[in-house]
C-alpha cells in the first residue's frame, strides 16, 4: 500500500451557526479516482474548501504527499500540486476563454510576474491551444468568459485546472448544469485525463450515473460526518446509504 497523496485527519469546520464538518478523516491514494457523495448541505464543497486552503479548519490536519498544509493559503496549495474547479464555475468574466487559460499556464510556468516581456511572446502559449482542444473550447477561444453557457464555463474551469498540471484535481460537481450529451462528453474527458496523466481525482456529483461510471472508491458524507467509504458495489448495497441519500434514486 503506497502513501496516500491526500490525507485528512480529524477535520472540523464550522460556519456561524452551522457545524459543516465534524471529525472527518480520509486517505486518498495516489492515482485514485474518488467520489464524494451526500445530500445537499452534507459538507462536500466545504470539504473541498478545506483541502484547497479556502477555509482553514478549526481542528484537524490536511496533508498533501506527506506534507502538512493545514491553513496554507490557496495559492501555496496550488503550487504544491493542487487544482480545483468550483461547483458554481468561477472564471474571469472580462477576459476571453484563451486569456483565462493563458493566465493559468503562466502561473504554472512561473512567468506571471514578468513585466519586461510581451505576453504575446510567452512560450506557454503553445500549451493553451492544446488545452482548449482537449476540452473542446477551441472554437470559443476569443469569446469573453462572461457570455459562456454554464456547461462551457464548467469546461473552461477544467481547462484552467489542467493548465496548472496538478497532482490532485478537485472537481466540485463537474457536470452540473450540463445537457446529457455534454455530461457524457465530460465523463469521457475526466476518464481520459485521469488515465493519461496519472492524476489523482476527487469529485463530487449528484448525478449517480457519473459517480458510478467513474469512481474507483466512494466516500459518503452525511451532515458533515463520513458515513462510510467503499467500492461502488459496496456503496450500492448499503442500507444506510440508501436511507440518507440514494433512497429515491435509480441505481
Amino acid at each position: 500500500m503506497s502513501l496516500p497523496l491526500l490525507r485528512l485527519a480529524g477535520i472540523s469546520k464550522r460556519y456561524p451557526g452551522v457545524q459543516a464538518l465534524t471529525d472527518v478523516s480520509l486517505d486518498v491514494p495516489a492515482g485514485q479516482l474518488r467520489a464524494v457523495i451526500g445530500p445537499n448541505g452534507a459538507g462536500k464543497s466545504t470539504l473541498f474548501g478545506v483541502i484547497s486552503g479556502e477555509y482553514p479548519p478549526e481542528a484537524g490536519v490536511v496533508e498533501l504527499d506527506g506534507k502538512n498544509i493545514t491553513g496554507w493559503p490557496p495559492w501555496k496549495c496550488v503550487r504544491l500540486g493542487m487544482a480545483r474547479a468550483f461547483q458554481v464555475a468561477k472564471v474571469f468574466p472580462r477576459m476571453t476563454v484563451y486569456d483565462n487559460v493563458l493566465a493559468a499556464v503562466m502561473a504554472r510556468d512561473g512567468t506571471s510576474w514578468q513585466f519586461w516581456r510581451l505576453t504575446s511572446r510567452v512560450p506557454g502559449r503553445k500549451r493553451v491551444d492544446g488545452l482548449l482542444a482537449e476540452t473542446g473550447l477551441l472554437s470559443l477561444a476569443e469569446t469573453p468568459a462572461a457570455v459562456l453557457s454554464q456547461g462551457d464555463r464548467k469546461r473552461l474551469e477544467i481547462a484552467i485546472a489542467l493548465a496548472l498540471e496538478p497532482r490532485l484535481l478537485l472537481l466540485d460537481e463537474p457536470t452540473a448544469g450540463m445537457s446529457p450529451e455534454e455530461t457524457h462528453a465530460t465523463v469521457e474527458l475526466i476518464r481520459q485525463l485521469w488515465r493519461e496523466r496519472g492524476l489523482t481525482v476527487m469529485l463530487t456529483e449528484h448525478d449517480m450515473g457519473v459517480v458510478f461510471a467513474l469512481a474507483e472508491e466512494i466516500t459518503v458524507l452525511h451532515r458533515g460526518r463520513i458515513l462510510c467509504t467503499g467500492s461502488p458495489e459496496e456503496i450500492r448495497g448499503r442500507q444506510d446509504v440508501r436511507e440518507v441519500y440514494l433512497g429515491d434514486i435509480e441505481l
Binding site: W75, V78, K90, A107, L118
Partner: protein, 318 residues
C-alpha cells in the same frame, strides 16, 4: 499609426502653439499620465484608491524639499520617483491587508494624513504658502527655464512613464493583474500570490504618480498644498471614467477633455464645478464605457445604417 501621429504632434506642438498656451497643454499631458497611472490601479488591478494625490504630492514636495540642495532637475525627478515608489511599498504593504471599500477608505485616510502633515511641519513645507521659487536650472547647458525646452524635458519623462505602463499592460504581469481584477479570490486558486501583485501595481502607480507631481511642480514653479488635496485624488478617477477606465489610452483622453472643459468653464462662470459635475453625469449616463468606446460605437452605428440601407427597397436611379 495613431501612435506615430501622436508622437509627431507632441514634438511639433511647441513650434506651432503660442508660448502662452504651452503651460496649459503641458499641464494636460502631465495629468493624462497621472490619470493613466491611477487607471492601472483602479481599472486594471481592481484596487479602488481614493488617495493617489498622496503620490502626486510626494513627487511635488520632493522637488520642493530638495530645492536648497540645488541638484540638477533630472536627479530630483529620479529621486521623486524613488520617493513615490518607496512610500507606496511601505504604505501598500500595510493597507493592502484590507480589501474593497476598506482599502479605499485607508487610501483616503493616508492621503489626508499626508495633507495634514504639511501643516504640522510648516517650517519646511511652508504650510499654506507652499514652497515658491522652484527653479528648473540648466542641464548639459540647456536652460530648462525656457518653456519650450521644458516641454521636451517633460515629454521625455512622460514618454518613459507611458512606455513603462504600456510594457506592464502588454506583459504577463499586466495579464495577471487583469485576472486579479476580475476575481482576486479565484486568482489565488491559480497559484497566484495576489497580495504581491497588488502591491506591485500600487508601487508602479505610486512611482508614476510621483513623476507626474514632480513634473508639475517644476512646471508651476511652486509646490502647494493643493497638490496633496483629496480633490486631486478624485480628478484622475473622473478623467478615467470619462475616457474609459479599462482602456489604456482612455484615461489620457479623459484628462484632455476634463481639463479643457474645466478651463473653459472657469473662464465663463464661477459655478464651473457644477457644470463640470453635470458633464461627468452626462458621460456616465450616455457613454458608460468612456471616450475610448467611441470608435467602436461609430463602427456599430455605420454597420447598422448600412444594413438598414440594404434592407430598404431599391429605388430606381433618378
Amino acid at each position: 499609426m495613431f501612435l506615430i501621429a501622436l508622437i509627431v504632434l507632441l514634438l511639433v506642438v511647441p513650434q506651432i502653439l503660442p508660448r502662452g498656451q504651452l503651460f496649459f497643454w503641458q499641464r494636460v499631458l502631465i495629468f493624462a499620465v497621472y490619470a493613466m497611472s491611477v487607471a492601472l490601479l483602479v481599472g486594471f488591478t481592481g484596487l479602488i484608491s481614493f488617495g493617489q494625490a498622496a503620490y502626486f504630492g510626494i513627487g511635488a514636495y520632493t522637488i520642493g524639499l530638495l530645492l536648497p540642495l540645488k541638484l540638477a532637475a533630472p536627479i530630483t525627478v529620479v529621486l521623486a520617483i524613488i520617493a513615490g515608489a518607496v512610500v507606496a511599498l511601505i504604505v501598500g504593504a500595510i493597507i493592502l491587508r484590507a480589501s474593497g471599500l476598506a482599502f479605499g477608505m485607508l487610501t483616503l485616510a493616508f492621503g489626508q494624513a499626508l495633507y495634514q502633515l504639511t501643516f504640522v511641519f510648516k517650517d519646511i513645507t511652508g504650510g499654506e504658502n507652499g514652497i515658491p521659487g522652484i527653479l528648473r536650472g540648466t542641464v548639459l547647458g540647456i536652460n530648462l527655464g525656457n518653456p519650450v525646452t521644458y516641454w521636451y524635458f517633460g515629454l521625455f519623462w512622460l514618454a518613459l512613464g507611458v512606455g513603462f505602463l504600456a510594457l506592464v499592460h502588454a506583459s504577463p504581469f499586466g495579464h495577471t493583474l487583469r485576472v486579479i481584477r476580475d476575481d482576486p479570490k479565484r486568482a489565488g486558486f491559480l497559484g497566484i500570490p495576489v497580495f504581491r501583485y497588488q502591491l506591485g501595481s500600487y508601487v508602479i502607480a505610486g512611482a508614476i504618480g510621483a513623476l507626474a507631481g514632480a513634473l508639475y511642480a517644476l512646471l508651476a514653479g511652486i509646490v502647494t498644498q493643493d497638490m496633496l488635496y483629496w480633490t486631486l485624488s478624485g480628478d484622475p478617477l473622473i478623467m478615467s471614467l470619462i475616457g474609459g477606465l479599462r482602456t489604456f489610452w482612455g484615461p489620457a483622453a479623459g484628462a484632455v477633455l476634463f481639463i479643457w472643459v474645466q478651463d473653459q468653464l472657469a473662464r465663463q462662470t464661477g459655478a464651473w464645478i457644477l457644470y463640470q459635475g453635470l458633464t461627468f453625469l452626462v458621460f456616465v449616463l450616455f457613454l458608460p464605457e468612456g471616450l475610448a468606446s467611441l470608435p467602436r460605437r461609430y463602427q456599430l452605428w455605420r454597420a447598422r445604417r448600412q444594413a438598414r440601407a440594404e434592407a430598404a427597397p431599391k429605388r430606381a436611379p433618378a
